[in-house]
Symmetry: C2
Subunit: 330 residues, 2 copies
Amino acid sequence: MTTTTAGATTTAGVKIVALAGGIGGARFLRGLQAVAPQAEITVIGNTGDDIELFGLQISPDLDTVMYTLGNGIHEEQGWGRRDETFVVKEELASYGVQPQWFGLGDRDIATHIVRTQMRNAGYPLSQVTAALCARWNPGVNLLPMTDDRVETHVEIEDEGGRRFIHFQEWWIKFRASTPALRIVPINAESAKPAPGVIDAIKNADVILFPPSNPVVSIGTILAIPGIKRALLASQAPLVGVSPIVGGSPVRGMADACLASIDVQSSAWGVAQHYGARPHGGLLHGWLVDDIDKDCALDGLRVLARPLIMRDLESSKDIAAAALELARSLS
Amino acid sequence: MTTTTAGATTTAGVKIVALAGGIGGARFLRGLQAVAPQAEITVIGNTGDDIELFGLQISPDLDTVMYTLGNGIHEEQGWGRRDETFVVKEELASYGVQPQWFGLGDRDIATHIVRTQMRNAGYPLSQVTAALCARWNPGVNLLPMTDDRVETHVEIEDEGGRRFIHFQEWWIKFRASTPALRIVPINAESAKPAPGVIDAIKNADVILFPPSNPVVSIGTILAIPGIKRALLASQAPLVGVSPIVGGSPVRGMADACLASIDVQSSAWGVAQHYGARPHGGLLHGWLVDDIDKDCALDGLRVLARPLIMRDLESSKDIAAAALELARSLS
């Protein structure tokens, strides 16, 4: 990257790798594309949120990234398709089929039908994702973290006793209101990174953690053996964007997840969780909101900017700041 | 059955078995229910039209009967759901997924999702059908002819050479315009009647062939080993309703199917195909349209009435005539 006289960043040919969850990651990536239109961006997407419902294989985070970057997303909602209808869901409810808490839209269902059919025909998720992206042209190389089945489950305790439920049930049905005693990415320990994931990290010029959930998005990706090691082995600057602004998550209920691993819900807490590179951690740089500008961690270069993503402009500013911080670390 | 002074038929407790295909059969059955509300009606439905598309297991004829008798049918069209939408189908087309000739509505898809999920969980089609009917309350005992997979395929010859295609492709995509060289219910010879089918025939007081397609609906059901034998062993009057009126099918393209087995497309031709009971055939009685009143076959009692099903009233008249004919044969 070079800085032009106007202060803009030239990113032609620059290889950027970003780990990403759903909405927050996708919106950040849209800003990143806008400020680095000539960069080669590889997105390693979380698949721990994947769930099979009604026999359909659903990859919520991959779809959110694909729809957002492919201009098919429901803008206000942040997930699901624009102009969505819910006829199939209504009909399934008329049959009394459970569960009914998952917002399965008709347009979205077509994606799951294609995915399920290809998966059942033997195609790995990475090839299915590429096939789906052939329609959406997200402009990034979207890779699932793994082709293996990994499902994030949450241990809760309520009148039903102590038990594990799927992350989606905890997140959507319970709205994360029941404390997570543990959050476990089932099968992560025996999963392999999807084809291209490790190579993308090895070849990266810049590595970014968007403001995705540190536990169930970034954390799940890091739980796939080999990914964290590859990140630590890379010489590329690794810059994270804090998902916590002034003690509250930018969006979602990241605080409920952080509590389960005893991490303070603050820009500082998350940075300490990821760790500073000189001390064996992942981060070289940490982008925080202006309100958190006093966040300091030994060995970590911190930059403070407004981090609330209101629209494409604010997403662009945040992405530009992340690249600026990365450049200062090169 | 007894005839009251007013000429109406008392059918309380009378056990009626009807073999049925799709639209024609379903409309006849609705008339039958209306004129024999206290009868116990068992419908043995054709499943040779079943097809798996996009990983969804579709049973068009069973669904047409279920939706029609359950008051969910698209009345004018005769198949599919009322107030149907086609969002999923449009989206699948946007993915470029084939085939696109099958009219897969959103409401209908919910039925297929439930069926597919139950089938994949190990439930036989008969139990799945019962589960679906628990919502629709069709008022009949709807049984698939078999729980085994039987698919009607059609041999055609065109620029693509001589080849077999699924019946649905021939019927919907080709509109039966390419001559059927052969129509083969694949796997019928090794299929078993679904639970309840043979017992229903054994216990029947009246057996009816609605004006369904003699080849790909009734013919396919008769191809399941054991069903024809049970019908022939029954002492109950077996009355058929001609699907051909004045040389033309009441609906559909039955003539194209009849041509494939060298049966004349006429009330007489179809009656001869089924055969008269005294000569080893299936029929005791044959209900034809007024225009075909001269249809005569040795050993067969023929009754002529208007057979065009325009509405519920005409369907009721036809069903009442079929029961009248059956009663005269008892």
